[in-house]
């Protein structure tokens, strides 16, 4: 494996160099991106300037025959949060990049002039090509145009117009197995950093490349078989997620009173059943779409789906729970077709669906449009795509929009929007929102599993007891899983089934020819978090940033009539391990 660096500030145009792994040997995914950013990026750098780097890294097991190993990590200093950022996506890119032998591809420096670049990566190396014909194309037409030149047997990573305009909610799209630009490194404005390097598209072609060979092929095959068995056996990964997708959570969070409604003003929503995963799956099947679909080859969970419009034509991939909530209940909108249209628009323009949905909710609170205004929500996202002054404000996320329109209730931490769980009804996820290195991010330590879903243990969501330890342990485990290239959803099975966790350890061990224990996983997670925390400290973040917005402490909401109860001193204890 090697690391490729592309210096966009080089005299005479972008210059590619290839080097050994060096101090980054053995790292992958989030461990690679975070260690490299923490080591090499000035913490006070402007996130859109020459000093920032965009590190693209497949996971430790990506490019192998191991199931579920297709997650890609993209890291940088975030223009949205000012913290370190790792944004993680499925799609085909990670597997293909890893098979070509890249542990990381790093975009560095800042180009002079206005030329737009595409990067072609194949078995012969890396080429950086000027292509100004791609300017301001959004992701669907962009990929369609690239396919006429590079075909269908490659993976594409692209930015839409939002990334080119360097909007703070801009994402990087990765194509799925059918070449739809639907799997996004969504969070933290990583698309803006790619745009700051003037890179519009990365075309990754693994023709002639082979699967990465394990050190012990027999042991690896055996461990992978047990791992897959474990995923198929667990009710969450084997039944619930394939059948209903992540949106099965709508009814659960609503029943638990933790479904943030109309910009976090209530914990239940009267229209939730219309948005539910049950309703969505039924509609998808009725219209000839699919309720079960994998975002990358080798996925056995298949939590996604295909959402067709009323006429039976493809509209978008199955909107996730977080998207359906952000654009749905959070905006008082109970119509799946509107949510699906907004999901398509976000993917096309290239913005984070969560940040955009929360931003529209904030705009509704500001009175820009009414809660429940479906056409209005679509019109506002259209503004983002057009790059109008209003669109640029909205495309910079909830915090910027809240400031511009003087809204006090902005559900964000470190300027990144929260996800679909109210921290007053799910205290554990509030701990994660407050303390994660990434800005509010539910995936960084998914306490919802233990608080609400009763997977991996049982901690009362309405009480403070046990939440700090829970969030700490989940944040450590997640940092490690995000480094392996494994989809985070494997956690549901490995938390409940020791033999499935052992199978994962054996996959890592037999692939690298080492002995891997649970303690090693913990050590890896802590190493990643420590590097991220250190970067954030040097970037000026203190314990006072590890807090929720005040309204969560001051406004109790129905049905539990409770505020966020965690004490500051408790939050400060999360990283005391």
């Amino acid at each position: 494996m090697k690391i490729a660096r592309i210096d966009f500030g080089a005299a005479g145009g972008p210059q590619v160099t290839y080097g050994p792994l060096g101090e980054y040997a053995g790292l992958g995914g989030r461990a690679m991106t975070s260690l490299m950013v923490a080591t090499e990026v000035h913490p006070l750098a402007h996130a859109l300037g020459a000093e920032n780097k965009l590190v693209i890294a497949p996971g430790m097991l990506s490019g192998t025959t191991g199931s579920m190993s297709g997650r890609l990590s993209v890291g940088c200093k975030s223009p949205l949060t000012g913290t370190i950022k790792e944004s993680n996506a499925g799609g085909q890119a990670a597997q293909v990049l890893a098979r070509l032998g890249y542990a990381a591809v790093v975009l560095e420096g800042k180009p002079l002039g206005n030329d737009l670049y595409k990067i072609v990566i194949n078995k012969d190396g890396i080429q950086v090509i000027v292509d100004n014909s791609l300017k301001l194309l959004d992701n669907y037409p962009l990929v369609a145009k690239l396919r006429t030149e590079y075909g269908d047997k490659v993976a594409y990573m692209t930015i839409g117009s939002a990334g080119e305009r360097m909007l703070l909610a801009a994402s990087i799209a990765c194509t799925d197995p059918e070449l739809r630009p639907t799997r996004h490194c969504g969070r933290g404005g990583v698309g803006a950093v790619m745009g700051s390097k003037h890179v519009k598209a990365i075309i990754i072609d693994d023709a002639g490349a082979k699967m990465r060979p394990p050190k012990d092929p027999d042991a690896f095959r055996d461990a992978n078989r047990k791992f897959v068995e474990g995923l198929r056996k667990h009710p969450v990964t084997g039944e619930g997620l394939p059948a209903y997708g992540t949106n099965v959570l709508t009814n659960i969070l609503n029943e638990a009173g933790g479904y943030p409604t109309k910009n976090f003003k209530s914990g239940t929503y009267e229209g939730s059943s219309k948005l539910s995963g049950e309703a969505q799956a039924e509609l998808e099947i009725k219209r000839g779409g699919k309720a079960t679909h994998g975002c990358h080859r080798g996925c056995v969970i298949q939590c996604s789906g295909i959402y067709n419009d009323k006429d039976g034509n493809y509209l978008t991939k199955q909107p996730e729970y977080e998207t359906t909530w952000a654009h749905g209940g959070n905006c008082g909108i109970d119509d799946l077709d509107t949510v699906a249209m907004l999901d398509y628009m976000d993917d096309n323009i290239g913005v984070d669906t969560m940040e955009m949905g929360v931003t529209i909710g904030v705009a509704m609170d500001a009175g820009l449009i009414e809660f429940g205004d479906k056409e209005g929500a679509i019109r506002l996202v259209e503004e983002v795509g057009k790059g109008t002054p209003l669109g640029r404000v909205l495309g910079c996320g909830a915090t910027v929009t809240g400031k511009v329109f003087a809204v006090e209730r902005v559900p964000a931490v470190k300027d990144q929007a929260m996800a679909a769980y109210d921290p007053r009804a799910v205290q554990g996820i509030g701990v994660t929102y407050a303390t994660t290195t990434q800005g509010a991010d539910h995936t960084a330590g998914y306490a919802v599993a233990t608080n609400i879903l009763k997977v991996g243990g049982d901690v009362d969501p309405l009480k403070t007891a046990g939440q700090i330890e829970l969030s700490r342990n989940l944040q450590i485990a997640t940092a490690a899983i995000d480094s392996t290239g494994m989809c985070l959803f494997i956690a549901f099975a490995i938390m409940d089934q020791p033999e499935t966790f052992q199978a994962l350890l054996d996959m890592l061990g037999s692939f690298y020819g080492i002995t891997m224990t649970g303690d090693d996983v913990v050590a890896l997670g802590k190493k990643v978090l420590s590097a991220e925390r250190d970067f954030n400290t040097r970037a000026g973040f203190t314990k006072h940033h590890d807090r929720l917005p005040r309204f969560f402490y001051n406004e109790a909401i129905a049905p539990h009539n409770q505020t966020f109860l965690m004490k500051d001193e408790e939050l400060d204890d999360v990283f005391n391990w």
Partner: protein
Amino acid sequence: MKITVKLFASFRTGRFEVETSDYPPGTTVAEIAERLQLTTAELGIMLCNHRHVKLDYELVEGDVLALFPLLGGG
């Protein structure tokens, strides 16, 4: 006493989405599950009036009980 039971995901197959019925006083979650032919192994999330409850929880008049299989997402 009247209890409203809501079922979700695969529990709806061959049963119902929501049903309000009469139950004898002191009926527990376990007894309702048994009446619906849901085994304890199948039961994942049990919420009564938005709060998690256990199998031995005794319901009272007007309660709304939501039953889910083990589910996840995010």
